[in-house]
């Protein structure tokens, strides 16, 4: 699964379709992105997560050559975006779906791009059918809803059959069917070996979609790994347990934990106990030894949302803005 790149007489093998190397962007009075380095692999869906104003869009724009980095560089398929011979055939991108000429129709918006690279009209019609706008070709962009614009943006990104997709908040404005369709589409394309880099605020949606994750906070990358590695590294699995006689179980746990009881055991509603730092087998055996009937025992993994929240709260030291 490696791509050979011929560059100045050298053959370089790359597996990372997008490579950000110390990307930094300073505006005259603020820092948008500070020393962001990460890689996005092919054949995988990579999520790009961070709070508002953390530099997600700026980073994407730097990768796409729209914003000039103060220092550092970004490579797509081994070369800067500007040096790609036919950019849309390598990278499809969706940055801002509302950036359309209101007087042009949905079809003519795509046609303007297609005439540039001699992409046949049938391809446009096929894409419009794919994104569910087959009968909307003649609609003016000013009359299109946000969801339609988002679908048009997706069609635009796919127009050149690119190997890399860079999508900024593509799920905004899509209806539930649209979101499911879009998720399956991205997963299928990743399965075909394409590299998909997608930013979003919708954590639960992202956890269903992505394989890898890049988390950015105040312009600094705080995590870049696969979702499963991230879960292993940061998760703090805890047990959810309920016994026939909860007070006996609580007494047992109090004996075990003594003064740290309050840190490790908490009461959830409906007579449910939450126990941290132990595995299910230990608790089951403990209950069995003491003749306590366990009626419910579950291991609760942290969701992406919880890991994300933890990362956002802990890493104040990495915060470039707090120094200012």
């Amino acid at each position: 699964m490696q791509t050979a790149i011929f560059c100045r007489g050298w053959v370089i093998f790359v597996q990372n379709m997008i490579e950000a190397i110390s990307l930094t962007k300073h505006y005259h009075d603020s820092v948008a992105v500070e020393d962001a380095s990460f890689v996005v692999k092919k054949g995988r869906v990579t999520g790009f997560i961070g709070p508002n104003g953390s530099g997600k869009s700026t980073t994407m724009k730097m990768i796409l050559g729209l914003v000039r980095p103060t220092s550092g560089c970004a490579l797509v398929n081994g070369s800067p975006y500007k040096d790609l011979p036919v950019p849309i055939k390598t990278v499809g991108s969706l940055l801002e779906p509302t950036f359309l000429h209101p007087g042009m129709t949905i079809f003519s918006h795509l046609r303007a791009i297609a005439v540039k690279y001699r992409i046949p009209e049938t391809k446009i019609n096929g894409l419009l059918a794919l994104v569910g706008l087959a009968d909307k070709g003649k609609l003016r962009c000013s009359k299109a809803s946000l969801g339609m614009k988002q679908r048009l943006g997706i069609a635009q990104a796919l127009l050149g059959d690119p190997a890399v997709l860079i999508l900024d908040e593509p799920m905004n404005g899509l209806d539930p069917e649209g979101i499911i369709w879009f998720r399956n589409l991205l997963k299928d394309m990743a399965g075909e070996g394409k590299c998909i880099f997608v930013s979003s605020h919708l954590m639960n949606e992202m956890s269903l979609l992505i394989d890898d994750v890049v988390i950015i906070k105040n312009g600094a990358v705080v995590a870049n790994s696969s979702l499963s590695d991230l879960a292993k590294e940061h998760s703090n699995p805890c047990l959810e347990v309920a016994a026939a006689d909860n007070s006996a179980l609580v007494g047992l746990l109090k004996d075990h934990y003594r003064e740290t009881f309050n840190d490790n055991v908490s009461f959830l509603g409906n007579d449910l106990l939450q126990v941290a730092g132990k595995d299910a087998r230990w608790l089951a055996e403990l209950a069995l030894k003491n003749n306590i009937t366990v009626v419910h025992l579950a291991v609760k993994e942290n969701t992406l949302e919880e890991i994300y929240a933890g990362l956002m709260n802990d890493n104040f030291l990495c915060d470039p803005l707090s120094k200012m």
């Binding site: 975006y81 801002e96 000429h101 209101p102 007087g103 003519s108 046609r111 303007a112 791009i113 540039k116």
Partner: protein, 272 residues
């Protein structure tokens, strides 16, 4: 065709890339309504004003003094629509650039064509070519109609004379240069209102202020303004205190180059 195209693309990738960018820009212009409105307004202004002015002159020629009759330049009368057409040309050229910024489509355009100089040059080329073609057609029509209306009362020169070709082509080149100047300035200013204000300041306000200056500064400055170059180019006779038609064309070329160079500098330097 595909194989030939590939071969050509290998031989001159920059030129082919530039042509592709031009095709994209032409399609954008063709698929927006405002470009039709402004280009047709210019054409209508050129023909309409010419017919109106020439008709008025031929009707009122008996009332004019001999001196005024001798001073009347029939070529200028039939091409006078050029100055009304400026309005349409300026709006067309400015909008074709500033709409990209206003609607944010500049992002898509720069994603499609990350080589910004190529994008900007393609845009200005297409705008100038559209203006040149449409104004050549309408100016020729205006010239023919105007001469026909005036021929009863004035001495007219006919379409085939050198002066006729010079003035018609000159007027078209003046409007095209105006398009290039607008394109360059719009890349610098990026806002429709600001760019149109700047262009009309150059075309209308600066000449007015220059004319207020004490002699000989007024004529010394006025002769180097782009609007004066336009006045020279549409006259068969040579207006007093003005440059020659050839020098006027060079002056317009100079202004166009300066504005385009400024535009290219700013589009490369700024973030998209």
């Amino acid at each position: 065709m595909g194989r030939n195209f590939l071969r050509a693309a290998k031989a001159r990738p920059h030129f082919v890339g530039y042509l592709n960018a031009c095709r994209c820009e032409l399609y954008k212009i063709k698929s927006t309504r405002s470009s039709y409105v402004t280009v047709f307004f210019s054409a209508l202004a050129i023909v309409g004003l010419s017919v109106a002015v020439c008709t008025l002159y031929s009707v009122r020629s008996d009332h004019l003094s001999l001196y005024r009759l001798a001073a009347t330049d029939p070529v200028f009368l039939s091409l006078s629509g050029t100055f009304l057409a400026q309005l349409g040309v300026v709006v067309f050229a400015v909008l074709s650039v500033t709409n990209e910024y206003g609607y944010g489509t500049i992002v898509t355009s720069l994603l499609l064509e990350p080589k910004r100089i190529r994008f900007a040059l393609a845009k200005i080329t297409v705008v100038v070519c559209v203006i040149l073609l449409s104004s050549l057609l309408s100016l020729t029509a205006a010239f023919v109609f105007g001469e026909r209306i005036l021929s009863a009362k004035f001495h007219v020169i006919g379409m085939t004379s050198f002066t006729a070709v010079r003035t018609v082509v000159g007027a078209a080149l003046y409007l095209s240069a105006l398009g290039a100047i607008c394109g360059g300035l719009s890349l610098i200013i990026r806002r429709t209102s600001g760019a149109i204000a700047a262009v009309f300041a150059i075309l209308l306000v600066v000449p007015l202020i220059a004319s207020l200056l004490p002699a000989p500064w007024d004529t010394d400055i006025t002769r180097y303004l782009p609007s004066s170059a336009g006045v020279v180019l549409v006259h068969a006779s040579h207006p007093a205190n003005m440059m020659s038609p050839a020098a006027s064309l060079l002056l317009l070329l100079f202004y166009s180059c300066v504005c385009i160079a400024g535009g290219l500098y700013f589009i490369c330097r700024r973030d998209g």
